[in-house]
Subunit: 157 residues, 2 copies
Protein backbone atom coordinates (compact mmCIF):
# COMPACT_ATOMS: atom_id res chain seq x y z
CA UNK A 1 0.00 0.00 0.00
CA UNK A 2 1.23 3.42 -0.92
CA UNK A 3 -0.34 4.81 2.22
CA UNK A 4 2.50 3.50 4.31
CA UNK A 5 4.55 6.55 3.50
CA UNK A 6 2.02 8.71 5.29
CA UNK A 7 2.15 6.67 8.39
CA UNK A 8 5.91 6.69 8.44
CA UNK A 9 5.80 10.44 8.36
CA UNK A 10 3.14 10.81 11.00
CA UNK A 11 4.89 8.38 13.25
CA UNK A 12 8.16 10.17 12.74
CA UNK A 13 6.42 13.38 13.71
CA UNK A 14 4.92 11.88 16.85
CA UNK A 15 8.05 10.74 18.58
CA UNK A 16 7.67 13.05 21.54
CA UNK A 17 5.58 12.70 24.68
CA UNK A 18 2.46 10.95 23.51
CA UNK A 19 -0.44 12.96 24.87
CA UNK A 20 0.66 16.45 23.93
CA UNK A 21 1.80 15.28 20.53
CA UNK A 22 -1.58 13.81 19.85
CA UNK A 23 -3.26 17.03 20.85
CA UNK A 24 -0.95 18.86 18.52
CA UNK A 25 -1.83 16.51 15.71
CA UNK A 26 -5.50 17.05 16.28
CA UNK A 27 -5.02 20.76 16.35
CA UNK A 28 -2.95 20.59 13.23
CA UNK A 29 -5.11 18.15 11.39
CA UNK A 30 -8.66 18.62 12.41
CA UNK A 31 -10.05 21.96 13.40
CA UNK A 32 -7.34 24.50 13.93
CA UNK A 33 -7.30 27.79 12.08
CA UNK A 34 -5.56 27.27 8.79
CA UNK A 35 -1.84 27.53 9.23
CA UNK A 36 0.79 29.59 7.49
CA UNK A 37 1.02 27.87 4.15
CA UNK A 38 -2.61 28.12 3.17
CA UNK A 39 -1.73 27.92 -0.48
CA UNK A 40 -3.83 25.37 -2.34
CA UNK A 41 -1.97 22.27 -3.44
CA UNK A 42 -1.99 20.52 -6.76
CA UNK A 43 -3.02 16.90 -6.85
CA UNK A 44 0.62 15.83 -7.00
CA UNK A 45 1.57 17.95 -3.99
CA UNK A 46 -1.41 16.72 -2.03
CA UNK A 47 -0.55 13.15 -2.94
CA UNK A 48 3.01 13.59 -1.76
CA UNK A 49 1.88 15.22 1.48
CA UNK A 50 -0.54 12.51 2.49
CA UNK A 51 1.38 9.62 0.97
CA UNK A 52 -1.19 8.50 -1.55
CA UNK A 53 -0.96 8.35 -5.33
CA UNK A 54 -2.58 10.98 -7.51
CA UNK A 55 -4.70 8.18 -8.94
CA UNK A 56 -5.99 7.35 -5.49
CA UNK A 57 -6.78 11.00 -4.74
CA UNK A 58 -8.85 11.23 -7.90
CA UNK A 59 -10.50 7.97 -7.02
CA UNK A 60 -11.42 9.26 -3.57
CA UNK A 61 -12.92 12.36 -5.12
CA UNK A 62 -14.88 10.24 -7.55
CA UNK A 63 -16.22 8.33 -4.56
CA UNK A 64 -17.27 11.57 -2.91
CA UNK A 65 -14.78 11.45 -0.04
CA UNK A 66 -13.20 14.80 -0.79
CA UNK A 67 -14.13 17.73 -3.04
CA UNK A 68 -11.13 19.90 -3.88
CA UNK A 69 -11.83 23.18 -5.67
CA UNK A 70 -10.81 23.66 -9.29
CA UNK A 71 -8.88 26.49 -10.81
CA UNK A 72 -9.72 28.21 -14.10
CA UNK A 73 -8.19 25.36 -16.10
CA UNK A 74 -10.08 22.66 -14.25
CA UNK A 75 -7.06 21.62 -12.18
CA UNK A 76 -7.72 20.41 -8.63
CA UNK A 77 -6.73 22.68 -5.75
CA UNK A 78 -6.49 20.99 -2.37
CA UNK A 79 -7.02 23.37 0.54
CA UNK A 80 -5.65 22.80 4.03
CA UNK A 81 -9.10 21.52 5.00
CA UNK A 82 -9.00 19.06 2.11
CA UNK A 83 -5.60 17.85 3.28
CA UNK A 84 -6.87 17.40 6.83
CA UNK A 85 -9.71 15.35 5.51
CA UNK A 86 -7.34 13.24 3.45
CA UNK A 87 -5.28 12.52 6.55
CA UNK A 88 -8.43 11.49 8.35
CA UNK A 89 -9.50 9.29 5.47
CA UNK A 90 -6.09 7.65 5.34
CA UNK A 91 -6.12 6.85 9.03
CA UNK A 92 -9.55 5.36 8.84
CA UNK A 93 -8.65 3.30 5.78
CA UNK A 94 -5.48 2.06 7.43
CA UNK A 95 -7.46 0.99 10.45
CA UNK A 96 -9.61 -1.17 8.23
CA UNK A 97 -12.69 1.00 7.75
CA UNK A 98 -14.22 0.05 4.41
CA UNK A 99 -14.73 2.49 1.57
CA UNK A 100 -18.45 1.93 1.92
CA UNK A 101 -18.51 2.94 5.58
CA UNK A 102 -16.22 5.86 4.96
CA UNK A 103 -18.44 7.09 2.14
CA UNK A 104 -21.44 6.83 4.40
CA UNK A 105 -19.67 8.74 7.14
CA UNK A 106 -18.48 11.54 4.85
CA UNK A 107 -21.91 11.85 3.34
CA UNK A 108 -23.25 12.39 6.85
CA UNK A 109 -20.59 15.00 7.54
CA UNK A 110 -21.68 16.88 4.46
CA UNK A 111 -25.30 16.73 5.50
CA UNK A 112 -24.52 18.87 8.53
CA UNK A 113 -25.03 18.77 12.30
CA UNK A 114 -28.29 16.84 12.26
CA UNK A 115 -26.33 13.69 11.51
CA UNK A 116 -24.06 13.88 14.53
CA UNK A 117 -25.76 11.02 16.31
CA UNK A 118 -25.17 8.57 13.53
CA UNK A 119 -21.63 9.82 12.97
CA UNK A 120 -20.87 9.21 16.62
CA UNK A 121 -22.25 5.71 16.33
CA UNK A 122 -20.02 5.03 13.33
CA UNK A 123 -16.95 6.35 15.14
CA UNK A 124 -17.78 4.24 18.18
CA UNK A 125 -18.11 1.14 16.05
CA UNK A 126 -14.83 1.91 14.38
CA UNK A 127 -13.24 2.51 17.76
CA UNK A 128 -14.36 -0.93 18.89
CA UNK A 129 -13.11 -2.56 15.73
CA UNK A 130 -9.72 -0.97 16.16
CA UNK A 131 -9.53 -2.07 19.78
CA UNK A 132 -10.30 -5.62 18.76
CA UNK A 133 -7.75 -5.47 15.99
CA UNK A 134 -5.07 -4.29 18.38
CA UNK A 135 -5.80 -7.26 20.63
CA UNK A 136 -5.51 -9.61 17.66
CA UNK A 137 -2.23 -8.05 16.68
CA UNK A 138 -0.86 -8.39 20.18
CA UNK A 139 -1.57 -12.12 20.06
CA UNK A 140 0.18 -12.40 16.74
CA UNK A 141 3.06 -10.35 18.11
CA UNK A 142 3.42 -12.75 21.03
CA UNK A 143 3.47 -15.63 18.60
CA UNK A 144 6.30 -14.14 16.56
CA UNK A 145 8.21 -13.38 19.76
CA UNK A 146 7.78 -16.95 20.88
CA UNK A 147 9.07 -18.27 17.57
CA UNK A 148 12.02 -15.91 17.66
CA UNK A 149 12.89 -17.07 21.18
CA UNK A 150 12.76 -20.66 20.00
CA UNK A 151 14.96 -19.94 17.00
CA UNK A 152 17.36 -18.04 19.24
CA UNK A 153 17.71 -21.23 21.26
CA UNK A 154 16.11 -19.78 24.35
CA UNK A 155 16.07 -22.37 27.19
CA UNK A 156 12.27 -22.39 27.47
CA UNK A 157 11.85 -22.69 23.74
Amino acid sequence: MATEALIERILAASDGPSSSTIDALHELLDDAPIEASTVPRSVAEAARLVGLSTHTLRYYEQEGLVRPARNASGYREYSAADLRRLVFLTRMRLSGMTMTDLKRYISLVEQGPSTVTERRRIMRDQHDRITRQIRELRLALETTEYKIRVYDGHPEG
Copy 2:
Protein backbone atom coordinates in the same frame (compact mmCIF):
# COMPACT_ATOMS: atom_id res chain seq x y z
CA MET B 1 -13.55 -12.50 7.26
CA ALA B 2 -14.65 -15.77 8.71
CA THR B 3 -11.50 -15.91 10.79
CA GLU B 4 -12.93 -13.46 13.26
CA ALA B 5 -14.66 -16.27 15.09
CA LEU B 6 -11.33 -17.78 15.96
CA ILE B 7 -10.03 -14.58 17.40
CA GLU B 8 -13.12 -14.11 19.46
CA ARG B 9 -12.59 -17.49 20.95
CA ILE B 10 -8.90 -17.05 21.60
CA LEU B 11 -9.47 -13.67 23.12
CA ALA B 12 -12.22 -15.04 25.29
CA ALA B 13 -9.82 -17.72 26.47
CA SER B 14 -7.06 -15.23 27.26
CA ASP B 15 -8.89 -13.04 29.70
CA GLY B 16 -6.70 -13.90 32.64
CA PRO B 17 -3.30 -12.56 33.70
CA SER B 18 -1.54 -11.89 30.46
CA SER B 19 1.85 -13.53 30.76
CA SER B 20 0.85 -16.90 32.16
CA THR B 21 -2.06 -17.14 29.79
CA ILE B 22 0.21 -16.58 26.86
CA ASP B 23 2.56 -19.27 28.05
CA ALA B 24 -0.37 -21.60 28.38
CA LEU B 25 -1.46 -20.80 24.87
CA HIS B 26 1.97 -21.51 23.50
CA GLU B 27 2.10 -24.75 25.37
CA LEU B 28 -1.31 -25.65 24.14
CA LEU B 29 -0.84 -24.53 20.60
CA ASP B 30 2.75 -24.98 19.64
CA ASP B 31 4.86 -27.74 21.00
CA ALA B 32 3.21 -29.44 23.92
CA PRO B 33 2.61 -33.16 24.00
CA ILE B 34 -0.70 -33.84 22.35
CA GLU B 35 -3.52 -33.39 24.80
CA ALA B 36 -6.39 -35.61 25.86
CA SER B 37 -8.63 -35.47 22.83
CA THR B 38 -6.10 -36.60 20.26
CA VAL B 39 -8.83 -37.88 18.00
CA PRO B 40 -8.39 -36.70 14.41
CA ARG B 41 -10.92 -34.14 13.27
CA SER B 42 -12.89 -33.99 10.08
CA VAL B 43 -12.54 -30.95 7.91
CA ALA B 44 -15.80 -29.55 9.28
CA GLU B 45 -14.71 -30.03 12.88
CA ALA B 46 -11.33 -28.50 12.22
CA ALA B 47 -12.98 -25.58 10.47
CA ARG B 48 -15.27 -24.99 13.41
CA LEU B 49 -12.40 -25.22 15.89
CA VAL B 50 -10.18 -22.70 14.16
CA GLY B 51 -12.96 -20.49 12.85
CA LEU B 52 -12.31 -20.92 9.14
CA SER B 53 -14.52 -22.39 6.44
CA THR B 54 -13.98 -25.90 5.14
CA HIS B 55 -13.31 -24.31 1.78
CA THR B 56 -10.52 -22.25 3.25
CA LEU B 57 -9.00 -25.28 4.93
CA ARG B 58 -8.90 -27.13 1.63
CA TYR B 59 -7.47 -24.05 -0.01
CA TYR B 60 -4.70 -23.85 2.60
CA GLU B 61 -3.88 -27.49 1.98
CA GLN B 62 -3.77 -26.89 -1.73
CA GLU B 63 -1.31 -24.10 -1.07
CA GLY B 64 0.86 -26.43 0.98
CA LEU B 65 0.27 -24.76 4.33
CA VAL B 66 -1.04 -27.86 6.06
CA ARG B 67 -1.08 -31.57 5.19
CA PRO B 68 -3.77 -33.46 7.08
CA ALA B 69 -3.73 -37.26 6.81
CA ARG B 70 -6.47 -39.10 4.92
CA ASN B 71 -8.59 -42.00 6.05
CA ALA B 72 -9.44 -45.04 3.93
CA SER B 73 -12.11 -43.13 2.05
CA GLY B 74 -9.88 -40.19 1.24
CA TYR B 75 -11.41 -37.96 3.92
CA ARG B 76 -9.11 -35.48 5.62
CA GLU B 77 -8.12 -36.15 9.24
CA TYR B 78 -6.73 -33.17 11.11
CA SER B 79 -4.42 -34.12 13.99
CA ALA B 80 -3.77 -31.91 17.02
CA ALA B 81 -0.53 -30.84 15.35
CA ASP B 82 -2.47 -29.86 12.22
CA LEU B 83 -4.84 -27.81 14.36
CA ARG B 84 -1.96 -26.07 16.10
CA ARG B 85 -0.54 -25.19 12.75
CA LEU B 86 -3.88 -23.85 11.60
CA VAL B 87 -4.05 -21.61 14.63
CA PHE B 88 -0.57 -20.33 13.85
CA LEU B 89 -1.49 -19.74 10.22
CA THR B 90 -4.62 -17.88 11.23
CA ARG B 91 -2.74 -15.60 13.56
CA MET B 92 -0.16 -14.79 10.95
CA ARG B 93 -2.82 -14.14 8.32
CA LEU B 94 -4.75 -11.90 10.68
CA SER B 95 -1.63 -9.92 11.38
CA GLY B 96 -1.28 -9.22 7.69
CA MET B 97 1.32 -11.78 6.63
CA THR B 98 0.71 -12.56 2.97
CA MET B 99 -0.05 -16.03 1.68
CA THR B 100 3.18 -15.88 -0.28
CA ASP B 101 5.30 -15.22 2.79
CA LEU B 102 3.43 -17.79 4.81
CA LYS B 103 3.96 -20.41 2.10
CA ARG B 104 7.63 -19.62 2.06
CA TYR B 105 7.84 -19.92 5.84
CA ILE B 106 5.99 -23.22 5.99
CA SER B 107 8.10 -24.62 3.21
CA LEU B 108 11.17 -23.77 5.30
CA VAL B 109 9.64 -25.44 8.33
CA GLU B 110 9.15 -28.59 6.31
CA GLN B 111 12.72 -28.49 5.10
CA GLY B 112 13.97 -29.00 8.65
CA PRO B 113 16.38 -27.36 11.09
CA SER B 114 18.83 -26.09 8.51
CA THR B 115 16.40 -23.33 7.63
CA VAL B 116 16.12 -21.89 11.12
CA THR B 117 18.13 -18.80 10.29
CA GLU B 118 15.83 -17.73 7.51
CA ARG B 119 12.75 -18.62 9.51
CA ARG B 120 13.94 -16.40 12.31
CA ARG B 121 14.51 -13.58 9.86
CA ILE B 122 10.96 -13.97 8.56
CA MET B 123 9.52 -13.95 12.06
CA ARG B 124 11.56 -10.87 12.95
CA ASP B 125 10.30 -9.06 9.87
CA GLN B 126 6.77 -10.02 10.73
CA HIS B 127 7.31 -8.89 14.30
CA ASP B 128 8.40 -5.48 13.05
CA ARG B 129 5.46 -5.21 10.70
CA ILE B 130 3.05 -6.00 13.50
CA THR B 131 4.66 -3.44 15.76
CA ARG B 132 4.31 -0.81 13.09
CA GLN B 133 0.72 -1.79 12.49
CA ILE B 134 -0.11 -1.44 16.15
CA ARG B 135 1.32 2.07 16.14
CA GLU B 136 -0.81 2.92 13.10
CA LEU B 137 -3.89 1.54 14.81
CA ARG B 138 -3.22 3.54 17.94
CA LEU B 139 -3.18 6.72 15.88
CA ALA B 140 -6.45 5.76 14.25
CA LEU B 141 -7.86 4.91 17.67
CA GLU B 142 -6.93 8.37 18.95
CA THR B 143 -8.65 9.87 15.96
CA THR B 144 -11.89 8.05 16.62
CA GLU B 145 -11.70 9.00 20.29
CA TYR B 146 -11.21 12.61 19.35
CA LYS B 147 -14.23 12.52 17.04
CA ILE B 148 -16.34 10.83 19.69
CA ARG B 149 -15.36 13.52 22.22
CA VAL B 150 -16.36 16.20 19.75
CA TYR B 151 -19.69 14.53 19.03
CA ASP B 152 -20.26 14.13 22.75
CA GLY B 153 -19.91 17.89 23.03
CA HIS B 154 -16.74 17.71 25.06
CA PRO B 155 -15.55 21.25 26.02
CA GLU B 156 -12.24 20.91 24.20
CA GLY B 157 -13.87 19.49 21.09
